[in-house]
């Protein structure tokens, strides 16, 4: 949608990377510097021959300036470069790479995501040995018995005389221990087997659940109009999904259903058509909470909402629980997100609606309108601390407004200098 309005920003980024002065680019393209300045700040539309000429001077495909490479792909490629540990010489040409070789870039990004998934899995598994008391006890038993057998057997195997009483005693011990080892190793194997049968382990449960929602377009009409219940929906979830992913899907579907009941499709669509996207107005009109409205708006079909929308939900630790991606807004796949997201502003001011215009730092400086609010997950009770969650609706807004705040995706791939919220150094050398 708002893609072509950012052509100017991309020209500017590209020019700065090349270290080309505005006047020089304008001269080579045959326009005035002040006109180029207007273009670079997205105040003049650009297309046709002029776009082709400028692209030629900048040494890129015109489509790369008019469309840009997919922001999510770019940020994944940057993560891949960061995690590879080898210094990557052409980090500043990542979107040229993605633009010229989109297929290969996807392959590289997919490999990176796969590696990240596998690393997480290895971590989970090695944690299991430390934190799962049953498994630790089972392994201890096997290794202790093996230690006893090894010591005893090597005493018996030593050359030279062994007193008959000792020899008999060690033979007896060896027999006992070998029986115990057979028993405990069988127990260990069945323990491991049992844990594995229900999940083919394709990825992290949250990722599997997200893939499922993505495949359904985040929209479940049959659930909304009551044709199918949650149980019927769960029966249709692909069988490859692990049990953990299934339970996440079920929780998300239950939330979806309760939001859809609070804000039924027909009156909601009519309200949006006449009043536009006004979450607080909708909350009043339908007598429900703002969190339900934000969640509901994000999963409406684009035809109903009239525009694309993304959503993130986090818990009080800041961990993302649910993500609906939106064009141009990079969300880290693993690890922590940018603390400047309005989502986190809302989290520290529970119940207070937060609306911010933001520009996500990166190669394509994309602008968004974000609306967020935090709510207690359950009715708070006397004597127990409330547990909050926060939700943020992300609407691409094309044009960056005056008051737009800079935000990132995650620190490692964020170029912003002097950021007070920076957690770790960026891998990017230059500021775009």
């Amino acid at each position: 949608m708002a893609r072509d309005t950012l052509t100017g920003s991309r020209i500017r980024e590209r020019r700065l990377i090349l270290g080309l002065r505005q006047a020089e680019l304008a001269r080579q393209a045959g326009i005035s510097a002040s006109y180029l300045n207007l273009i670079e700040h997205n105040r003049r539309r650009i297309g046709g021959k002029l776009l082709v000429d400028i692209a030629a001077v900048l040494g890129v495909e015109p489509s790369m300036l008019s469309e840009g490479a997919e922001a999510a792909l770019i940020s994944t490629l940057r993560e891949a470069a960061a995690d590879s540990g080898v210094p990557v010489a052409e980090l500043d040409r990542v979107d040229e790479f993605a633009g010229r070789f989109p297929g290969w870039a996807e392959v590289l990004a997919a490999c990176h995501r796969r590696i990240a998934t596998l690393e997480q899995m290895v971590e989970t598994l090695s944690d299991r040995l430390t934190h799962d008391p049953n498994l630790a006890a089972s392994v201890h038993e096997v290794l202790s018995t093996a230690a006893a057998i090894r010591s005893t057997a090597s005493i018996l195997a030593e050359p030279g005389e062994l007193e008959p009483q000792w020899r008999d005693r060690f033979h007896k011990n060896l027999n006992e221990d070998s029986l115990r080892l057979a028993e405990s190793s069988r127990a260990l194997v069945s323990f491991l087997d049992e844990r594995d049968t229900d999940s083919p382990r394709r990825g992290m449960p949250q990722e599997e659940a997200e893939d499922y929602f993505q495949s359904q377009g985040f929209h479940f009409p049959a659930l909304e109009d009551g044709q199918l219940g949650i149980a019927d929906m769960m029966a249709e979830v692909p069988v490859e999904l692990s049990a953990a992913a299934r339970s996440l899907v079920q929780v998300a579907l239950e939330q979806y259903l309760s939001d859809a009941r609070a804000l039924p499709m027909e009156p909601l669509a009519a309200e949006i058509a006449s009043e536009g996207i006004d979450p607080v107005g909708l909350a009043r009109r339908f007598g429900c909470g703002l969190p339900a409205v934000l969640r509901r708006l994000a999963v409406l079909p684009e035809a109903v909402l009239g525009r694309e929308a993304g959503l993130v939900i986090c818990d009080a630790s800041g961990t993302l629980l649910f993500r609906k991606p939106v064009t141009g807004f990079a969300m880290p796949r693993f690890g922590a997100s940018c603390p400047l997201w309005p989502l986190y502003t809302a989290l520290v001011h529970p119940h207070v609606p937060v609306r911010r215009h933001v520009v996500q730092q990166g190669r394509n400086a994309a602008a968004f309108e974000c609306m967020a609010v935090a709510w207690p997950q359950e009715q708070p009770d006397f004597g127990s601390d409330p547990v909050y969650r926060a939700v943020m609706l992300i609407l691409p807004s094309g044009q960056a407004t005056q008051d737009a705040q800079p935000v990132g995706a995650s620190c490692r791939i964020c170029p912003r200098r002097g950021c007070p919220a920076r957690r770790e150094p960026s891998i990017l050398k230059e500021q775009f």
Partner: protein, 158 residues
Amino acid sequence: MGNSGANLRRNKGDSVSAPARPEAVRREEELRMGRHVVLIEDEPNITEAIRFLLTRDGWDVDAHAEGSAAVELIRQAGPDLVILDLMLPGKSGLEIVRELRAHPDMQALPVLMLTARGQLRDREMAEKAGVTRFMTKPFSNAEVLTAVRDLHAQAGQG
């Protein structure tokens, strides 16, 4: 805990006599005035194998299978070396080491810890608690003997 180890645990007056020691070892032992080790391990057959090995190497072996009274036992026995399992009934090996190190006269006592969990985190925790050396099950007899001799030699120097 099997019965086979129970009657061996306090070895004085045991029905099975200690293995015969070679002449050279006996002479060495006379020079060194007897070396004494306390072994705390709940696996009776490991206890028996280690007892055999160390007795043959010239050590007096005092074995116990339970963790809760271990600190008192060690303090009373005043051994040259302690061998300790990490996972013990009653009290963990780490706790025992921590309590031992809290006593001023137990600071220099060499402690060899046996464990089935060879993970880095355990090793770090054991070192912090004051374990002198760390051995992962399943170990070989040669490893045990080398560790015990090294620890004793180091303690003798210090």
